[in-house]
C-alpha cells in the first residue's frame, strides 16, 4: 500500500488505482496502440487488452513505487522514442495524481502492430 499520513488519518492507494492512472496515460501516449499482458505466450501478445491490471504491474517496496508497462507499438515509429515518452508521460501523470515519487517506470515493448500493409 502506498501510504501518506495526514492530520486526519492515513491515505492508502491500491496498486490497481495506480495502474489505472498509468493505463490512461499510456494509451494516450503517441505510438502506443495497446497494452499487452506480460504472461501471454508469443503470438497472443498483440491482443489489445482493456483491463489496466493486465498490461501494467505496480509494485511497492519500502515506500518506493515501481511500475512496469507492457505495450504494443505502432509499426514504423521509432520505438525508443515512443517508449521513452510513455515512461515520461506515465511518471508525470502518476506523480501528479499521487504526489508520490515514482522509483522506476519500466516500459516493455511486447509487440508491434501493422496498421497499413505497405
Amino acid at each position: 500500500m502506498s501510504e501518506a499520513i495526514n492530520p486526519h488519518g492515513s491515505i492508502n492507494v491500491a496498486p490497481r488505482a495506480i495502474a489505472t492512472i498509468a493505463y490512461q496515460a499510456a494509451i494516450e501516449s503517441y505510438g502506443v496502440v495497446g497494452l499487452a499482458s506480460k504472461n501471454l505466450v508469443n503470438g497472443l501478445t498483440q491482443m489489445v487488452i482493456k483491463d489496466p491490471s493486465h498490461g501494467i504491474e505496480v509494485q511497492y517496496q519500502d515506500d518506493q513505487v515501481d511500475i512496469d508497462i507492457y505495450i504494443i507499438v505502432e509499426y514504423g515509429t521509432r520505438i525508443k522514442s515512443v517508449a521513452a515518452s510513455v515512461a515520461k508521460t506515465v511518471r508525470y501523470h502518476v506523480e501528479k495524481s499521487l504526489s508520490l515519487p515514482i522509483n522506476e517506470v519500466n516500459v516493455h515493448v511486447q509487440g508491434l502492430r501493422f496498421s497499413n500493409q505497405e
Binding site: 503517441y30 505510438g31 514504423g76 515509429t77 521509432r78 508521460t89
Partner: protein, 562 residues
C-alpha cells in the same frame, strides 16, 4: 541589380516553378527551408510548454527530428519526389525525438506512402498525401488527444482539400494550408484545457506550423533568419520577481493579455506604459501579448483602457499590491521557521509555543521541534510525540511552557520509545531561559538539570483579561478587567492595560533586574505596544527593555524579567 530586387526576382521564379509539378529536388529544398524556419523559432516553440508537462522541449525535439530527415537527403541527386519523400520519412523515423517528433515522423511516413514512387507532385497529389499523413498519424495512438499536433495535421489536410476545389495552384494550396494550420494552432487551447490554463497554444502544432510557414516564406522570398523578438516569450516572463521591486505609491498589479489588431510598435508601447506605472514587463507568444505593470490607485484603469484600444483584451488579472506585500511580510515572519537540525546522539529540544513570534524565538534558540499550543489550546500527547519521533536522535527534552501541558508532555515521554525528559516549564519565559542552557552534545541528565536550574533565573509576568469574577489571594477581579500574573499567581487587576503593565513591573520588582523582554499578543495594537513600552522605559531607565512580537492569543503580554 540590388540584393532585394534579386531576391524578389528569385521568389517570382520560385512561385512559377512551384506551380509546375514539383520534383524530388524541390521537395528536398522545401523540407530544408521548413527546418531552417523551425530552427529560427525553436525557442518560441520550446517556451510554449505547459510546465511541467512531459515532453518539455518540443521545439528542440522537432528540430532534431527534421534535422535527421534533412541529413538523410542532404547529398542525394534523386529527382523522383516519391523516393525523396520516403528518404525523408526514413530520416525522420530514425531521428524521431519526443512525442511530437514521433508524430512528425509518422506524418512524413504517411506523406511518403501516398506519393509512393511518383515522379512529380501536383496539387491533387499534395492534398492526397496530406490526408494520408493525417490518417497514418492518427493510427499511431489508441486514444488521440485533440488540441495537439494531430489536430493541426487534420485541419491542415482539410484546409488544403478545400483550397483544391478553388485552385490547382500548389502555392495557393500551401497558402491555404498555412492559414488553416495557423488557425488550428490558435484553437488548440479550446480543445485541450491544460493549454488554456497555462495560456499557451500547443507546441507541437506550432512547430508543424513553422515548418509549413518556412516553406511558404521561402517561396515568397521572405527572410528565414528569424525576426528580432523584442518581447520575451510568455513562458520566460518572471512576474514573481517583480514583487520585490515595488516602489511606494504602487497599489495595483495588472497583468493584461491581449491580441493587438496590428503589429505593436514596442518602443512606443513601452513609452506610453512608462507614464502609467512601473515594473513594466511585456511578454509575447504567437501574436498574443502579456503586459505586466504596477500602477498607483488613480491610474489603475489606464493600462486596461490602453490595451483595449490596441487590440482585443482576452484576460486581466488584478492584484492588490499592498495586501500582497503584507501577506509576504507575514509569511516571512511566521512562515518558514528554521528548526535546528540534530544529529544522532545529540539532544533535541521540542518546545510548545503559543504564537508564531514565540515559535520564532524558540527556533532561533535552537529547538529541533515545535508544537503549537498554549492556554486553552493544549496540544495532545500524540502531537507532542509527532514533533520528536522522526528526529534522528534518541535524546529528547520537552518544554511544555504551560502548566496545563506538562501532563500531556509527561504522557508523551512515557509512551515514546526514545529517552525523553520533560522540563516542567510553566511559562514561555521559563522555557526560553531553559533553552539558554541547552548543550546539544552534553549528557541528557546533566543538561536537563541545568535547564531546570536556569528557569529559576527568570521571572514571568503575564497580562490577560479576566473571563469571570473571582477573588484569589486577596485580589478582587471583575470579568473583563485586565489582570496580571506573576509567576503564575494573580497579583493585580486593573481596568486599564497600560496601568496594569506598569503595576505588574512594580510587583515583579523590575528595578532589581537587568532585562525585560515583552512579548505582545496577537490581539494588541502595535501603537499601544509602543506606548506601553515607552511608559515602561520612562519608569525604568536603568533597565534594558526588549519588545518582541509573540503572536500568542489571550495573553496581551508575556514578560520575561532577568
Amino acid at each position: 541589380m540590388s540584393d532585394s530586387t534579386t531576391a524578389l526576382k528569385e521568389a517570382g521564379q520560385r512561385r512559377i516553378r512551384m506551380n509546375r509539378p514539383v520534383n524530388g529536388q524541390m521537395l528536398k529544398r522545401l523540407t530544408e527551408v521548413g527546418l531552417i524556419w523551425l530552427k529560427a523559432n525553436q525557442q518560441t516553440v520550446n517556451a510554449l510548454n505547459v510546465f511541467p508537462v512531459p515532453d518539455g522541449d518540443t521545439g528542440t525535439n522537432m528540430v532534431l527530428t527534421m534535422q535527421s530527415a534533412c541529413d538523410e537527403i542532404a547529398n542525394t541527386p534523386e529527382r523522383n519526389v516519391g523516393k525523396i519523400a520516403h528518404q525523408i520519412a526514413q530520416g525522420a523515423l530514425m531521428g524521431a525525438r519526443g512525442n511530437s517528433g514521433v508524430i512528425l515522423s509518422q506524418l512524413w511516413r504517411g506523406f511518403a506512402r501516398s506519393l509512393d514512387t511518383k515522379e512529380t507532385l501536383i496539387a491533387a497529389d499534395l492534398v492526397e498525401a496530406l490526408n494520408e499523413a493525417r490518417d497514418t498519424a492518427y493510427k499511431g495512438v489508441v486514444r488521440p488527444v485533440e488540441g495537439t499536433i494531430l489536430t493541426v495535421a487534420k485541419d491542415l489536410a482539410a484546409g488544403c482539400e478545400a483550397a483544391l476545389k478553388k485552385s490547382d495552384s500548389l502555392v495557393a494550396i500551401l497558402e491555404a494550408g498555412v492559414k488553416a494550420a495557423d488557425q488550428s494552432v490558435e484553437h488548440t487551447p479550446e480543445l485541450l484545457p491544460v493549454l488554456k490554463e497555462a495560456g499557451v497554444v500547443d507546441a507541437g502544432g506550432k512547430g508543424l506550423f513553422f515548418i509549413l510557414e518556412g516553406m511558404l516564406r521561402w517561396i515568397n522570398g521572405q527572410p528565414l533568419d528569424g525576426g528580432a523578438a523584442v518581447a520575451q516569450p510568455l513562458a520566460a516572463l518572471k512576474l514573481e520577481e517583480t514583487l520585490e521591486a515595488i516602489e511606494p505609491g504602487q497599489d495595483w498589479e495588472l497583468v493584461i493579455d491581449f491580441r493587438p489588431h496590428q503589429a505593436l510598435d514596442l518602443e512606443d508601447f513601452y513609452k506610453n506604459l512608462e507614464e502609467m506605472g512601473t515594473s513594466i514587463q511585456i511578454g509575447e507568444g504567437d501574436g498574443m501579448y502579456r503586459l505586466h505593470i504596477h500602477v498607483p490607485d488613480e491610474k489603475r484603469s489606464q493600462p486596461w483602457d490602453y490595451a483595449m484600444r490596441l487590440g482585443t483584451v482576452t484576460n486581466i488579472a488584478i492584484e492588490n499590491l499592498v495586501a500582497q506585500m503584507e501577506e509576504i511580510e507575514r509569511k516571512k515572519n511566521g512562515g518558514d521557521l528554521q528548526l535546528m537540525p540534530v544529529e544522532a546522539d545529540q539532544i533535541a529540544v521540542v518546545a510548545v509555543a503559543p504564537g508564531p513570534g514565540i515559535a520564532r524565538v524558540f527556533a532561533s534558540l535552537g529547538v529541533a521541534g515545535l508544537v503549537e499550543g498554549g492556554q486553552t489550546m493544549n496540544p495532545s500527547t500524540q502531537q507532542i510525540i509527532a514533533a520528536f519521533e522522526n528526529l534522528p536522535t534518541n535524546k529528547v527534552i520537552v518544554l511544555p511552557n504551560n502548566k496545563n501541558i506538562i501532563m500531556a508532555a509527561e504522557a508523551a515521554a512515557e509512551l515514546a520509545v526514545k529517552e525523553v525528559k520533560v522540563i516542567k516549564s510553566c511559562t514561555v519565559p521559563q522555557g526560553l531561559a531553559a533553552m539558554m542552557r541547552l548543550a546539544p552534545d552534553g549528557d541528557l541528565e546533566q543538561v536537563a538539570a541545568d535547564m531546570v536550574k536556569a528557569m529559576e533565573d527568570v521571572q514571568t509576568g503575564e497580562i490577560t483579561t479576566a473571563t469571570r469574577n473571582v477573588t484569589i489571594d486577596g485580589v478582587k477581579v471583575k470579568k473583563g478587567q485586565v489582570i496580571g500574573l506573576h509567576n503564575g499567581n494573580l497579583v493585580l487587576s486593573s481596568p486599564d492595560l497600560e496601568k496594569a503593565c506598569l503595576e505588574l513591573m512594580e510587583k515583579m520588582s523590575l528595578q532589581d533586574y537587568e532585562l525585560l523582554t515583552l512579548f505582545y499578543g496577537a490581539d494588541v495594537d502595535k501603537a499601544l505596544v509602543n506606548k506601553i513600552s515607552d511608559a515602561i522605559r520612562a519608569a525604568y531607565p536603568e533597565q534594558e527593555i526588549e519588545v518582541q512580537e509573540g503572536g500568542q492569543p489571550h495573553y496581551h503580554f508575556i514578560c520575561a524579567v532577568e
